[in-house]
């Protein structure tokens, strides 16, 4: 089971069991739903943006260990970041979970999700919350789908 541990790393299992920022922000400045039509998973993300900075970010929903942990880790990574950096981070994270190349620097804990790249059918699980954040900041009204 050693190779499975590359995917289901301890940090991921921890965030799956005890997701951080797993709540609703009552009056968010931005909000969007992410939908994975493949498995029916739905994740809602909420943001509170002030002066171009993400003051607070949270998520709700049900998903697999990969999508839940990715959403949880994402909220930790984005809290306190300027909105102008989000686009770069979303792209960098996408590189982490899809590329064979080197992981982008300065993503810190997010690199634990690099194991996903060996499981192509699970990439959409890992990117679901990130799609939703991008959609929220672009003020999409309809749920954003991974396909």
């Amino acid at each position: 089971m050693s190779d499975l541990r590359d995917l289901y790393q301890e940090v991921i299992m921890d965030h799956n069991k005890r997701p951080r920022n797993f709540r609703i922000i009552p009056q968010p400045t931005h909000h969007a739903d992410g939908l994975n039509p493949l498995c029916g998973d739905r994740i809602s993300v909420y943001l509170d943006v002030k002066d171009g900075v993400i003051q607070d970010i949270s998520f709700q929903g049900a998903g697999c260990a990969i999508s839940s942990a990715s959403a949880s880790l994402m909220t930790e990574a984005l809290k306190g970041k300027p909105v102008s950096e989000v686009e770069y981070l979303v792209d960098a994270f996408h590189t982490v979970v899809t590329n064979d190349g080197e992981c982008p620097k300065n993503l810190g804990k997010l690199n634990v999700l690099a194991g996903v790249r060996d499981y192509p059918s699970r990439v959409k699980c890992a990117t679901l919350a990130w799609h939703a954040v991008r959609a929220a900041l672009e003020q999409h009204k309809d749920p954003v789908a991974t396909e």
Partner: protein, 428 residues
């Protein structure tokens, strides 16, 4: 070559719905499936995703190759030898399908792309004269393929879709179905024979009788049933029956629609083109007779021929034997799954076919699917194209193990062992 073992039958648990005991030599059957010899992640392949699509015996694979290497040409056109030979093989399959379903005539057998297209054909053609307020009755356990075509028809015509509910165990509530038929506005009842998400075998003969008593024609979605039980469309007296080749050991890309001749004759064509006409001028076209009226354009010739070989193969084994073997597998699996703490089985109908859908508390079905895959065990994880069924049980998805004639008791044991590994991994 006989696929029945000469030795004593396998020791089986008592059967509830299957009436015979399997005497099949499963090792010999397995030997006919080249893909079953391969490994997945260095583990022997345990293929339990048969409700999605089954693997193909060598006879079917060879038949397709023989068609293309030996005698392929377009059908119904040429006077040359290859075209005549291809036409003969293609139309020969129509006769095999007729016999397989015990239809009255080959004119009642239409080749399509899959069961989904067969249902869409009926929705488009039979449903073309539906009026606002007309009703179509389906059940709550339909595959999306028997929901969405009717929704599209309703959008086009103003007809209304009515849904008969099912119980917690996954059984249709027959009284509710009957009540929906009583509105006086129902133009068609369309329902699934065996639910792909629950395994429930619906009482389709009774459901057909109830509809016919009110003058309502029925369509049966048989995608999951034809590989598991013998279907006799005349005994069922259904008006339409749809199934897919790829679920019955044949190639993908071919489906079948059975329809009663009188209905098919009265229906307008589904698509226009070559092969479905008798006379064409720019003013007017006369359509060909059945079944060609519904087969516009060059069909999937080689794969239709492959389907014929698959039906021969399955018939030689005998569907009673297949059902008995699969039922034993289902009982073996169900008994062991029940021993896993936190495991919940969705669909516990009294009459159930060869699949078991479940959830495991604390683990998403996708994670189950990924971990099982690394153990060589292929199952389906997701909504099984039956999202309303998932909503019924309040889950986003389930894991589903589904069985075919080539599966063994040892493979079920491998599934169970892998599920214990999932629990270990998730510290449950």
């Amino acid at each position: 070559m006989s696929l029945h073992s000469a030795t004593a039958p396998l020791p089986l648990t008592p059967l509830t719905s299957a009436t015979t005991r399997s005497t099949l030599d499963i090792a010999r059957i397995r030997a006919e499936f080249p893909i079953l010899r391969r490994k997945v992640h260095d583990k022997p392949l345990v293929y339990l995703d048969n409700a999605a699509s089954v693997q193909k015996p060598k006879a079917v694979i060879d038949a397709i190759s023989e068609c293309y290497t030996g005698y392929y040409a377009n059908i119904h056109r040429g006077v040359h030898l290859l075209s005549e030979r291809s036409t003969l093989a293609y139309e020969g399959t129509r006769e095999k399908v007729r016999a397989f379903l015990n239809a009255a005539s080959t004119q009642e057998i239409i080749f399509t792309r899959n069961a989904t297209e067969s249902i869409n054909l009926v929705a488009s053609s039979f449903g073309s004269d539906f009026k606002p307020g007309d009703e179509v009755v389906i059940t709550g356990m339909e595959h999306h393929s028997n929901i969405v075509p009717w929704q599209l028809l309703c959008q086009r015509t103003g007809a209304i879709l009515k849904v008969a509910p099912f119980t917690e165990t996954g059984e249709l509530i027959l009284e509710e179905y009957e009540r929906l038929l009583d509105s006086g506005r129902v133009k068609l009842a369309a329902f699934v024979h065996i639910s792909n998400a629950l395994g429930t075998v619906n009482p389709v003969k009774r459901m057909t009788e109830l509809a016919h008593a009110r003058g309502i024609p029925v369509l049966i979605d048989g995608a999951q049933s034809v590989p598991h039980l013998a279907v006799d469309v005349q005994a069922l007296d259904c008006d339409f029956y749809a199934f897919s080749s790829h679920k019955v050991y044949g190639p993908s890309g071919v489906g079948v629609l059975y329809g009663k001749k009188a209905l098919l004759q009265a229906m307008p064509p589904y698509q226009g083109g070559g092969d479905m006409i008798s006379v064409v001028t720019f003013e007017k076209t006369e359509y060909a007779d059945l079944p060609n009226k519904f087969e516009a354009g060059t069909p999937n010739i080689a794969d239709v021929i492959g389907l014929g070989v698959a039906l021969d193969w399955l018939t030689a084994i005998g569907l009673d034997q297949v059902a008995a073997h699969e039922h034993a597998l289902l009982e073996h699996a169900t008994r062991q799954l029940r021993e896993i703490p936190g495991l919940r089985i969705m669909g516990t109908a009294r009459d159930k076919a060869a699949l078991v859908a479940f959830t495991l508390q604390g683990v998403h079905p996708h994670d189950i699917g990924t971990i099982l895959d690394r153990e060589g065990v292929a199952i389906r994880a997701g909504h099984h194209c039956a999202q309303p069924v998932m909503q019924h049980y309040g889950v986003p998805a389930t894991a589903r193990a589904s069985f075919a004639v080539y599966n063994t008791h040892d493979e079920i044991d491998a599934l169970i062992k892998a599920l214990w590994k999932v629990k270990e991994m998730f510290e449950l």
